[in-house]
């Protein structure tokens, strides 16, 4: 399960920035990196990301714990490419029957893994330092997202942890009825589907009740909402967005200057 609660010290200079600014900075930093297949630009990006960690108040150990699905994915990419890469040019490093590892294979694999980290880490950092309520507030106040969408999603989000407990409960209730799949894969699939259906029925009911309770408190009143918690988007926030864009551009420029730049298209 990926944990979504903030984990950082909230008084760190960059963690305190407006959530929309952080989100925009993460996107503007990560998207340009997707344009290249070389390992240099993402490596620079990762260096930058690790360098700003203290400014976000995140301890590296905490980041590793939060980003472990990324590590697993990276391992998967490495193994897959080493075994199945089509391009086996370059110097032969290891020749063990069907497994042929060449320098070309390793460079491609390294590039992919670095890209994966470079693109995903900004998102991990933003969500690790952002309270969901603040994000919804900022989306409404600074990005003009419809409140019905942002606050509605926030409220629905609160019900998600209940689903796990509910699933366990339904599974136990089935066992009490004498229903179990045993080792038969088809029976397992059927049991899974029927448990999922029961879960869905319950989730829809609960969601409907929550929606009615929200409307009963005027969520659908049509009156322009006021904001109990102000989110400010100031000069420092602009600076973060511009800085992130500039850094991404710099990483690409260095890659081009070194001649390692390999465009994704063309």
């Amino acid at each position: 399960m990926i944990d979504l609660e903030p984990i950082a010290r909230s008084d760190a200079p960059l963690a305190r920035r407006n959530p929309v600014a952080k989100l925009a900075a993460a996107l503007l930093f990560a998207i340009p990196l997707m344009a290249t297949l070389d390992p240099v630009a993402p490596a620079i990006a990762i260096a930058v990301e690790l360098a700003v960690l203290p400014l976000f108040g995140i301890h590296p150990r905490v980041l590793v714990r939060r980003a472990w699905p990324l590590l697993a994915a990276a391992g998967g990419v490495l193994v897959t490419l080493v075994l199945f890469a089509a391009d086996r040019s370059g110097r032969v490093l290891l020749d063990a029957g069907p497994v042929l590892v060449t320098s070309g294979v390793l460079v491609t694999a390294l590039g992919l893994v670095l890209r994966l980290f470079a693109v995903a880490l900004p998102g991990v950092i933003v969500f690790a330092t952002t309270d969901p309520t603040d994000l919804a507030d900022a989306l409404v106040q600074n990005a003009r997202a419809p409140a019905r969408f942002a606050i509605g999603a926030l409220a629905a989000f609160r019900l998600v942890p209940l689903l796990g407990a509910e699933w366990q409960m339904i599974a136990m209730a089935r066992r009490a009825r004498g229903v179990e799949a045993g080792r038969n894969p088809l029976a397992r699939l059927r049991l899974f589907a029927s448990t999922a259906f029961t879960l869905l029925v319950g989730a829809i009911r609960r969601g409907t009740r929550l929606a009615v309770a929200m409307d009963a408190r005027g969520f659908d009143s049509g009156v322009p909402r006021s904001f109990a918690r102000r989110q400010h988007f100031g000069a420092a926030d602009w600076l973060l967005v511009v800085g992130a864009t500039a850094l991404a551009g710099t990483a690409l420029a260095i890659s081009i200057m070194l001649g390692t730049f390999r465009p994704l298209i063309g």
């Binding site: 609160r158 019900l159 209730a173 309770a213």
Partner: protein, 499 residues
């Protein structure tokens, strides 16, 4: 503010043949406190939803008029607040103060006025924490108090309460009633739907009884209503206060031991607990919300792996699985020995019709088809479900779904039945049917374990009680108290201890 006027009001949900509520003429003056009564299906909740303006025009058909301060209810919503049963689905935000502020933001209250009003509302309901307290960390009673604060912050002239204490343990329910007494001012009109009438009476000065077929049957002061209509209402399943509940004692001594729990626990949900479950005996498990009662029921039912200690089934109960703990038995074998009835009946339904639902357990256990048919017919009649044999279990009313979930557990004739809050939210009639049924099962030598908050149920049926999560007593009389204590005096089958 808060005057209510209904003239020939009726509502029929889209796709239904019967009117949920019809022909209601009613006038409630500002500041009155009204308890809305009626048998199950009389349309009490629908009427509250209509008053709250929560029945959209396209979701059904309506008749007559419903007005609040002279405006149609749909347009008068800014003056009406409603509190529902389930605290989980009423809280919107992650922090308590933000949740109270939510309604104020929706109404466009200027930012500078919001926080003073939030603090004032929290204070009025006696909310004990700072407004930054995470809503997820609150108990059910505290969450419901917060929901009440969220509604009161909007200063409604008309406050509607739809069974606000039904999901709470007795302590939580008492907190809500205290908060209501304290927080609702004289100028606020109150209309309350509440199952447990005796608990609601201190809050109201007028009772309105809805007639299931349509219209208002009776309207007046509580004493007058119950003097004139008490018997009829009780027969229809309403919990009329002051009615005797004759206890059903076991006629013989308890039989052999079926289950033995030895320091059985599951940290952090349940502290280590010792207990024995016997044939021909009813054991009631009591305790506050969060004391681990439901977890204990799941452990005893062989549905959860114990985190500590041991659960041993006797040779009588375990049959060929003697020596193996119940949580490792195969599901069909388990269903034939220990039946579990869950708090939410819908968790247990797996088929499309009531009849299939009852046939499922016996079929899984390998019974021949003729025997399955006989068993199903017997249970259909026994639990008044014959009329519904072809119905989809998800379409049943609360009482019907409860009866079906008990019937499905009985279908495999287990020696031991474990029920989690079986009487929860039931009307008086279903309640009595369950008590009668359990008494008969006990007579026939079945063992029964019930997790419950329902003190009447304990009084009527329990032979022995176990109280979980006893807080360490400040003045100790009897040595060091373990986390859970079985009442030793009652283990001989004597009078039950309440609370």
């Amino acid at each position: 503010m808060g005057g209510v006027r209904l003239r020939g009001f009726g509502w029929r949900h889209a796709g239904r043949r019967a009117w949920a509520v019809r022909g209601v003429d009613l006038r409630v003056e500002r500041g009155e406190r009204v308890l809305l009564l009626g048998p199950s299906g009389a349309g009490k909740s629908t009427l509250l939803a209509a008053l709250a303006g929560l029945l959209p025009e396209d979701s059904g058909e309506h008749e007559g008029t419903i007005e609040i301060d002279g405006r149609p209810a749909g347009e008068a919503r800014d003056g009406v607040g409603i509190v529902f049963q389930d605290p989980q689905t009423q809280l919107v935000m992650a922090r308590s103060g933000d949740d109270v502020a939510f309604g104020l933001e929706n109404r466009g209250v200027p930012a500078g006025l919001i926080w003073p009003r939030v603090d004032q509302a929290l204070h009025r309901v006696g909310f004990p924490y700072h407004r930054d307290r995470p809503t997820a960390a609150l108990s059910g009673g505290e969450q419901q108090r917060l929901a009440l604060a969220g509604v009161l912050a909007l200063r409604p002239g008309l406050l509607l309460l739809d069974e606000p204490t039904a999901n709470l343990d007795p302590a939580g329910a008492a907190l809500i009633r205290a908060a209501l007494t304290r927080a609702v001012g004289d100028e606020t009109t109150l209309i309350l739907v509440e199952h447990r009438v005796a608990d609601a009476l201190p809050l109201v000065d007028r009772v309105v009884v809805l007639e299931p077929g349509g219209g208002v049957r009776a309207d007046g002061a509580p004493e007058a209503i119950f003097a004139a209509h008490g018997d009829a209402l009780a027969a229809e399943g309403v919990w009329v206060p002051g009615r005797e509940i004759p206890p059903r004692r076991a006629t013989g001594p308890a039989g052999e031991v079926l289950l033995t729990a030895d320091r059985l626990g599951l940290p952090p949900r349940l502290a280590p607990t010792d207990l024995t479950v016997r044939a021909g005996e009813t054991l009631a498990v009591l305790g506050r919300n969060g004391a681990g009662k439901s977890t204990l029921a799941l452990l005893l039912g062989g549905l959860l792996k114990p985190g500590s200690g041991r659960l041993t089934a006797s040779r009588d109960l375990a049959g060929k699985d003697t020596g193996t703990p119940p949580h490792r038995w195969r599901a069909p074998a388990l269903a034939g020995r220990i039946g579990s009835v869950f708090q939410d009946p819908e968790h247990q339904f797996v088929t499309d019709t009531v009849r299939d639902e009852l046939a499922l357990g016996p079929r899984r256990a390998g019974a021949i088809e003729a025997a399955v048919g006989d068993r199903v017919e017997e249970l259909l009649h026994r639990l008044r479900l014959a009329r519904l044999a072809a119905a989809n279990p998800y379409t049943l009313s609360g009482g019907e779904a409860r009866r079906l979930s008990v019937a499905t557990a009985l279908a495999t004739a287990p020696r031991l039945l474990i029920c989690d809050e079986p009487t929860f939210g039931q009307d008086r009639r279903t309640w009595w049917e369950l008590v009668d049924l359990f008494a008969e099962l006990r007579e026939a030598g079945h063992g029964l374990v019930t997790v419950t908050h329902d003190t009447e149920f304990v009084t009527a049926l329990a032979d022995r009680t176990l109280i979980l999560g006893h807080p360490p007593a400040p003045t100790r009389g009897s040595g060091s108290a373990p986390a859970a204590t079985a009442d030793p005096a009652a283990s001989t089958g004597g009078a039950p201890e309440q609370r």
